[in-house]
């Protein structure tokens, strides 16, 4: 039995990747939940919003790299995030002005807005593929590892190596900063409180003199920011491919629903629940168990519960279980 090595293996293959992935999902789910709370529909175009913002950031990254600007050990893409957010905000604000505002003024029922967002999804998808193409794009640079396997082994003398990729550390730090800033904004500023008020009771917010159009504009800008940051972090950590971002829609929605739609805290919790289940159920536990169990009990197979390709099934199963036992989600979602 070797708890220490088992824990290192667990961290290396489960905990650290799941924390990074969970942060990315949480940021995505926050965007979905904000739109649901304020604009009152599920935005099917959210995955493609992420893809678009990330694309702008990637183009800016390439520009910076060509101009010889880098951040040293950090990826240049971090510098390009503001550009990505600007581009993404411009796109969603233009969409709102040209598309969604009409239905808001008509007080159209939410399901119409969902179908409208399908149309927007097609258009964003087309624009992104038109500009950057449907293929994988590499844009990560800087140091690859915060701690690499060899350093770790030399440092600790353990048999089991641990590698922390710099993108994983950056993801966690960025997500923490963004979430803290978002909660400060929603709970401490007048505009943030007016957003929560609008989400809670639209009619009363109007009577209090809150300008709905302003609330909606601010919401879209925040959503653009969250989507771009989530997208860039995911792209740095894994890879950028427009279709992958579209597919993220399912785990992101699952995270938002598991946490309780409309609840920002729930979105974060949901993101981590989904990420940990996905990584945990698709990981081959042989190595960890070999360290933990005495010789004769050591497993022969990989002890992988599900093939990696079934990770969508995991989001889905978690969703069903939560809906069975707690239909309103972990944090009873109602308002922003």
């Amino acid at each position: 039995m070797d708890f220490l090595n088992a824990f290192v293996a667990l961290s290396n293959f489960v905990l650290i990747p799941a924390i990074a992935y969970g942060s990315q999902l949480a940021l995505g789910a926050l965007g979905v939940t904000l739109v649901y709370g304020i604009l009152r529909f599920s935005n099917f175009a959210h995955g493609d919003t992420m893809a678009f913002g990330t694309m702008v950031a990637i183009l800016a990254t390439w520009g910076l790299q060509a101009a010889g600007v880098t951040l040293g050990p950090l990826p240049t893409a971090l510098l390009a995030i503001p550009v990505g957010i600007l581009g993404c905000a411009a796109l969603v604000l233009a969409t709102d002005r040209l598309v969604y505002r009409f239905y808001r003024a008509q007080k159209a029922v939410p399901v119409i807005l969902v179908i409208v967002s399908m149309g927007v999804m097609f258009i964003y998808n087309g624009i992104t593929r038109f500009i950057i193409g449907p293929d994988d794009q590499a844009f990560a640079d800087g140091a690859r590892f915060l701690i690499n396997a060899r350093q770790f082994r030399e440092m600790t003398g353990l048999a089991e190596p641990l590698a922390i990729r710099s993108t994983q550390a950056i993801t966690l730090v960025t997500a923490l900063i963004v979430v803290a800033a978002l909660f400060w904004f929603l709970n401490r500023t007048k505009t943030g409180k007016s957003m929560r008020a609008y989400s809670d009771n639209e009619d009363l917010a109007l009577l209090s003199g809150i300008d709905p159009e302003r609330v909606v504009r601010v919401t879209w800008i925040i959503v653009a920011g969250l989507a771009t940051i989530a997208g860039v972090l995911y792209g740095l950590d894994k890879t950028y491919k427009p279709f992958t971002y579209f597919q993220l829609l399912l785990p992101i929605f699952a995270a938002a629903i598991v946490g309780g739609l409309g609840s920002p805290l729930g979105a974060i919790a949901g993101g981590f629940v989904i990420a940990f289940s996905e990584v945990g159920l698709t990981y081959a536990w042989k190595k960890v168990l070999t360290y933990l169990l005495p010789g004769p009990l050591e497993p022969d197979g990989l002890v992988q519960l599900l093939a990696t390709d079934y990770k969508f099934a995991v989001s889905f199963m978690i969703l069903v279980i939560v809906l069975l036992f707690r239909p309103t989600g972990l944090f009873r979602g109602k308002s922003v």
Partner: protein, 277 residues
Amino acid sequence: MGLGMSDPLHDDRGNRDRSITNPAGQGAPLPGHRGRARPAPGGPFLIGDAMTGGYGRGADILHGCTIAVDRGEIAVIVGPNGAGKSTAMKAVFGMLSLREGAVRLDGEDISALSPQDRVKKGMGFVPQTSNIFTSLSVEENLEMGAFIRDDDIRETMEQVFDLFPILREKRRQPAGELSGGQRQQVAVGRALMTKPKVLMLDEPTAGVSPIVMDELFDRIIEVARSGLPVLMVEQNARQALEIADKGYVLVQGRNAHTGTGRDLLADPDVRRSFLGG
């Protein structure tokens, strides 16, 4: 409301899918007239004068109905179910479009203003239902009440806390967790935060216990004594008329009886027709 199933933008095909649409939906459609206030000196402080109209393109509910309140007064609108009491108050507040008649406040004709603009002109309105932000704390509810103000609101908030001391205790608690009577206090407090020139209450005692009702009435008298005119719609006609300086009995959208609260309580006609003898 006035929007039939034939309209595709408002036909949700029975869809109740919470995963894609927020069941809270969009707010109620408010008439969006954007006119200006015109000077109209003289007359009572607030008057809805000979109002005729209804919701959207529907049939008229009000027929030449007049409601007025002066400084320092409490005016109460009472009447049987379906008499158009709440409608009359909503008409004064601009939530339905008038075909005839006018609304004047403090020497200005405000008939063309939207409800939001009337709030800016000094109307404080407490709706009957959904009148607080349930997920916001008591303090945040009051802050949102003062949203249109840019000056220091702490003094007004202190005044509201002095009026409703229990709210000071529960200032950090989400308003949705409070009891029915406390919620009504939050609702009134929220409306007072704009420092309104007139306070309008739509059935403030609906669904609260008799003890709480008496307490609320005491507070409302206190507010009126401070010089703020109060216009109120009430189900509990007898208790309401007891505290009213002015009473309006509406029947089918028309003024049936008008007078001081004491006079109306004494009027045999009024007693027989709906105070129950």
